[in-house]
Symmetry: C2
Subunit: 453 residues, 2 copies
Amino acid sequence: MNLCTSPLLTDLYQLTMLRAYQVHGMHETAVFELFVRRLPAVRNFLVAAGLEQALSYLERLRFSDEELSWVRADKRFGPEFADYLGQLRFTGDVYAMPEGRVFFADEPVLRVVAPLPEAQLVETRLINLIQFESMVASKAARSVLVAPDKLLVDFGLRRAHGAEAGLLAARAAYVAGFAGTATVLAGPAFGIPLYGTMAHSFVQAHADEIDAFAHFTDVYPDGATLLIDTYDTERAARRIVDLARSLASRKIEIGSVRLDSGDLGALAKSVRSIFDAAGLSAIRIFASGNLDEYRIAELLRAGAPIDGFGVGTSLVTSADAPTLDAVYKLQEYAGRPRRKRSAGKATWPGRKQVFRRYGRDGRMLNDVIALEADAQGGEPLLVPVMEQGRRSAPAESLGVIRKRTAGELERLPEALRALDPATVPYGVHVADSLRKLADEVDAKVASVPALCR
Amino acid sequence: MNLCTSPLLTDLYQLTMLRAYQVHGMHETAVFELFVRRLPAVRNFLVAAGLEQALSYLERLRFSDEELSWVRADKRFGPEFADYLGQLRFTGDVYAMPEGRVFFADEPVLRVVAPLPEAQLVETRLINLIQFESMVASKAARSVLVAPDKLLVDFGLRRAHGAEAGLLAARAAYVAGFAGTATVLAGPAFGIPLYGTMAHSFVQAHADEIDAFAHFTDVYPDGATLLIDTYDTERAARRIVDLARSLASRKIEIGSVRLDSGDLGALAKSVRSIFDAAGLSAIRIFASGNLDEYRIAELLRAGAPIDGFGVGTSLVTSADAPTLDAVYKLQEYAGRPRRKRSAGKATWPGRKQVFRRYGRDGRMLNDVIALEADAQGGEPLLVPVMEQGRRSAPAESLGVIRKRTAGELERLPEALRALDPATVPYGVHVADSLRKLADEVDAKVASVPALCR
C-alpha cells in the first residue's frame, strides 16, 4: 500500500458511510466545498496551496488488490463491498482557487461535484493535503513580506511532522516565495532549488575547525558556506580571513558563512566588519537557529547585515498556528441545497463562488461570497480544474504559481501585509442570494415532521 | 522514489558533508546521540516513540537506481560520489530507550555508533521520525492520564501534517494508551483498532435525519454510533428513543451517539437523561469537536456523562507544543570525545547512559546522565537495539509497548501526572564523570593554535 495515494488513508466513517450509500443506492450528485472556518488570530490572510497534490490524488484514486483484500476480510465490510470499491474511480468535477491565491475565512477554495460516495470518500485526504500546504504557504508568505530581498531557505525537514510534511512544506514555502529548501528530495520531486551548508558535526569531526573549513572548500571550491559558530564565532571569522587569502591563490572562493547561535544581530555586525576590513565584502552572511518572521523582522529592523535566513521548525510546523480550521461540507445533494446548523458550526448552502473587488490602486478591496449563479461584480476566484475525473489543464509549473503568489502579495491591502493582526480585518461579504437560500433551507428542515417508526 | 524510505529525504548538507568525508577518507567510527534539549513549558515528561520506524529506516537504507541517477547528474556530486552512495548501507550499532519509556530533557533516547558518513546521513530522518512520534505520544499520554477509564480515539488525520503524520500519529496515540484511531490505514499497517461513526454529510444527504439513522443501523445492526448534532441535539435524542424501540423488535441495537458541537457537558447530561428515562441506559455517549486534554478534564470535572472522546487536531499536531527541540549530536569521533560549545546550545561529550532511580513507593525518583562506562546506581534506560546494521531482537509488538507506557505512567511522580506544569521539575542530574570529561574536551579545543594557512 502506498502511504500517500492509498484510499485507505481516510477516516473509517468514510467507508462505513460509503457502504450505507451503496446498500441504499444513494449515488446522486453531491456538492462539497472545502473552506477554512476562521483565520488563526495570527494570520491576516491565507495562501492557497496543495491543489496539485489534491488533483493528483483524485486522478489516481483506486483500491489496490492488497487494499481490497483488507476490506474483504474486515467484518464491517465483506466481499460485496470490496467488489464495489474495486470499481470505484473519481469521476467528478472540481473547481478551485489556483495555488498562490490569497483567501480568507468561509471562502470555498475547492468544490467537488461528484456522485455522493466518490465525493465523500476523498474528504479526509483533500483536507489533509490542502490544509497543510496552505498553512505552510501562509506562514512562509509572512517571512517573504518581511524580507523580500533576502535569500530565504526552508531548513525544516527534521522537525516536520513526518516525511510528507517535510517534502510538502518545502513545496509550500517555495510557492510562497522562498528561494529553496535544504530537503534534497524536493529537488528531484519538484525541481525546487536546493541549498545546504555544513553541520556542527562536520566541524567537530575535525581536530581543528580550520581543517574542516579547508577540507570543505577543497571539495566545493565555488562558493561554499562555512558554519562558524561551533566554538567561537568571531575567532572563526578571523581565521577565515587568513584561510580566504591562502585559498584565493588557488582560485578557491568562500561563498558565505552561517551563524546558528548566540546574538545573531551583534555577531553578524562584527563578522561583517572583520570580513570588510579584510577586503572580503563578497562573503555573505547567512543566519539560522530558531528563526521565524518575527525574529527576522527584528534583526532587519536592528540593521543586522544578514543576507539570508534558514527558517526551519517554525515554518514547517507553522508553530504559532499549527492548524487551519479547514472543513469540507456537503452543500447540495441530488439538486437540493444542504446546510449544517450545528451550534457554532453552521455552513452556507449551495454552489458558491468568491468574487473579488480591487481598488483604483490595484489592491484588493473586498470579497463577496455568492451563489455561483448569482454573478457579482469582481473577479471570480474559483475556476474549473477537473472535469469528469480528468484535469481541465496540465499541472501548473511552480514558476507560474510563484509568480501568482508574488502578484497576490503585492495586491494585499497594506494593513494585511504587517505581521501584527490587522485592526480591521479584510471585508468578506455574504451575498443576499445566499442568505435567502440559507433561510429557505432552514425553513424546510424545521418543517420536517418527527416521524415515529 | 519512496517518500518514506528514500535516503534523499535528508538535508542537502548531509550529502555535501558525505562527499567531503569521502574525498578526505573520513570514515572512522562516530558516536551521535539524539536527545531533546528542553521540554516544552506545557509538558512535564515525554514518552519515547518512533524507534520501530527509525530502525526500519536504518535497515533498509540504500539508494535506488533512480536516486543514484539524480545524484550522478547533479553538478554538486557527480558519478564517483553516486557510485560510492550506491554501496552505502547502514552497518552501525544503535542503542535506544525502548518505545513507551518516559524521558526528560538532555537524556539521550537513541545513540548511533557507526562509520561517520553512515551516522551522519541518517540524522535528518531519525530526528524527523522520533521527534514526531514522541511528541504525539507525549501529548496523548496527557489525555490518558486525565481520562484513564474512557474510550479515547484519535480523530486527527484530516488536520495532521500530511499522510505520514496522520498514520504515525495514530500509532503514537495508541502507544500512549489511546484505544484506537479513525485512520483506516492504521488498521492494515499496524493492527490498531479502528473506530468510526458517521459524518454530518451522511445526515444531510438524507431528507430527514431519522432516515439517515435508520439507513445506518440497517447496515450496521450491532451497535452503530449515530451523530445527533446536525440540527438539534436534544430533538434528535428524543427521536432516537422512538427509533430504538422500533429497532429493538428487529434485534437492531444502537451502540452510541456522538455529540460534536454546542455545550458538550450540558448536552451530554440532557441526552443521558432522555435515554435513561426511556430505559436506554446501554446507549453510550461519545463526544468530539475541538477536544484536548484540558477540555476533557474540564468536562469530567463537571460530571459530564461522556463515555468516550474523539481527539483530533490538538492531538496529531500537538497543538500547544507542535515541536520538540530534538537534536542529534556528534559526541565522539575516532575515539575522541567531541563537544559543541555554541552559545546556549552546548552538549555533553562521550557515550552516555541514563540511570533511573525509584523510590520505595515504586515511583520514579530521579535520573542521572553519566558516561556509559561510569555505571551509576539505578536502571539503565538505553539498551542495544541494533548491531552492525541488524536488529538485536525482533520488532516489539504494539501490545508490549502499550503495556510499557502504562507502567511508566503509573510510576510517574504525582506532580508530573498533572496537566499543569510541575512546580518542581523532575530531577535529572549530570554525573561528575561527565562534567570532568566536558572540561577536558574544552581544554583541548582551547589549546588548539590558530593556524595560518
